[in-house]
Amino acid sequence: MVPFAAAFGYSLLYSFGIIGVVNDGFTLEFWAEVFRSGAFLDALIYSVTIALISVFISVTAALWFTLKFQKKLRGKIVSFMIYLPLAIPGIVAAFFTVQILSKSGLFSRFSYLLGFTSGITDFPDLINDQYAIGIILVLISVVMPFFVLLFLNVYDNERLDQLTELARSLGASNSQTIWRVSLPVILRKTWTLIALYFIFLLGAYEVPLILGQESPQMLSVLIVRELKQFDLTKISEGYVVAVMYTILVSIATILLFSKRSTENG
């Protein structure tokens, strides 16, 4: 906690101009400038949208896979294979995506050979694009396998096999067992982790750094860009964004765990 407090304290003082090489003393100028430029709000909306879409698709797909294939996913080879994505860090996933989805990547080559495109420029922008397609695809590919394994674990621990069997014997249809038994049990057990993953993705760095565009940028990329720039007078604004991000994440954490503590009694 000491390093966290030290980092936050330093950023806070810098953001108010109290410390810093070119700062003259307390001022609200940097905070006003950040709000005026809208950089933080743009990055926040962009990050929240990407994180929400990625988590939503990952959780939905993982739930579907778990409920449809929970028996087949336990086969000897398959059960080993579904762990393999966890061996791929974000930076490798981003590198692989560049090789596959860039204008000179593998898909573009296939598209050219099949006659769908007539050259590099014809291929659509799937990375460094305005809709963050590349970023979202990579985040899904990194997060979804984890949720598949998590949901499979919950499926076992909560004995969902027996619960669904019981529901069927009491006259429930297939869709009723899914919507009224399996899904509520899995989601109630894992919602904290899902929310935590949303917060993690909000602060994603290397994937948007490689696959994102110049503007808007995700929060971490924006903060580091502002803090590392050559114009020393602008660094304080970077610390303003860092302080706002830290406060936001801290509030989310407190809400998340106080709610969890209440539920656990």
Binding site: Y10, P85, I91, F96, Q99, F257
Partner: protein, 256 residues
């Protein structure tokens, strides 16, 4: 319907394996120009240079290994010992909540805000600085990880040893460490992976001087040297794949 569903499952499994095969094949290639599907050269030429100074990949592998082992050992041991005091503390809930803050914040932002202190301590751009920075992230993880270990049963064992005249050091060495051996192994590998996969924090505190494998991948992307980039990716992937093969628990742990 059944065939359609099987098709999706097979597609998913192929999508899992494909990156591994593709990256390995790319690491063996050179002269892969658009629109060719196959490269001009395919063989072990690139891998022959893995230990050379031109690529620097073997050196980065060793640096990554030293950093990750240091972070894993220190954070696992500190996490195990200190989590005991947190778990038995009257304000356990508050302390556990506070543990989450450094863990949940984006490491790169945390590193950027901490860099001033690293500069003042003279460890900015050093391997020790990177180890310390990564420890600050991995240690809270270890604390949270071990919090479930300390329960009434363990407390009873500790009390029993104390009743029989054993000191706290004996309790740790003869009772607690053997009982927690499995958890210690899992935590060691998990914290090893946190460090092994880390990029943002390392780039900030290491300022390009400490070139771990993740930093190398990014440098090769910037240089458009995709063949060496793929080789670095393969080196990054190998240890976790081995861990999965030995024990899946080493890479997957639902923390909360």
């Amino acid at each position: 319907m059944g065939r359609w569903k099987n098709g999706i499952l097979i597609t998913y499994l192929v999508a899992i394996v494909f990156p591994f095969i593709f990256l390995f094949l790319l690491s063996m290639s050179s002269g892969w120009r658009f629109p060719d599907l196959l490269p001009e050269y395919f063989g072990f030429k690139n891998w022959g240079k893995v230990a050379g100074t031109e690529s620097g990949i073997a050196q980065s592998f060793l640096i990554s290994l030293v950093i990750s082992l240091s972070v894993a050992v220190s954070s696992t041991l500190c996490g195990f010992v200190i989590s005991r005091y947190v778990s038995y503390h009257p304000k356990k809930r508050l302390l556990t909540l506070l543990t989450y803050f450094p863990y949940i914040l984006a490491p790169v932002v945390f590193g950027a805000c901490l860099s001033y202190y690293f500069l003042k301590m003279g460890i900015f751009g050093t391997t020790f600085g990177v180890v310390l920075a990564q420890f600050i992230i991995a240690f809270p993880y270890a604390l949270i990880f071990f919090s479930s270990f300390w329960n009434e049963k363990i407390k009873s064992y500790e009390d029993l040893v104390a009743t029989l005249g054993g000191g706290s050091l004996t309790t740790f060495r003869k009772v607690l460490l053997p009982m927690a051996r499995g958890l210690l192994m899992v935590c060691f590998f998990q914290t090893f992976l946190i460090s092994w996969f880390e990029y943002g924090l390392t780039s900030i505190i290491g300022v390009g001087k400490v070139q771990t494998l993740t930093i190398k991948v990014f440098l090769f992307i910037k240089e458009s040297n995709f063949y060496y980039g793929a080789m670095s990716c393969c080196m990054l992937i190998i240890p976790p794949v081995v861990m999965i093969y030995i024990n899946k628990k080493y890479v997957f742990n639902k923390l909360i």
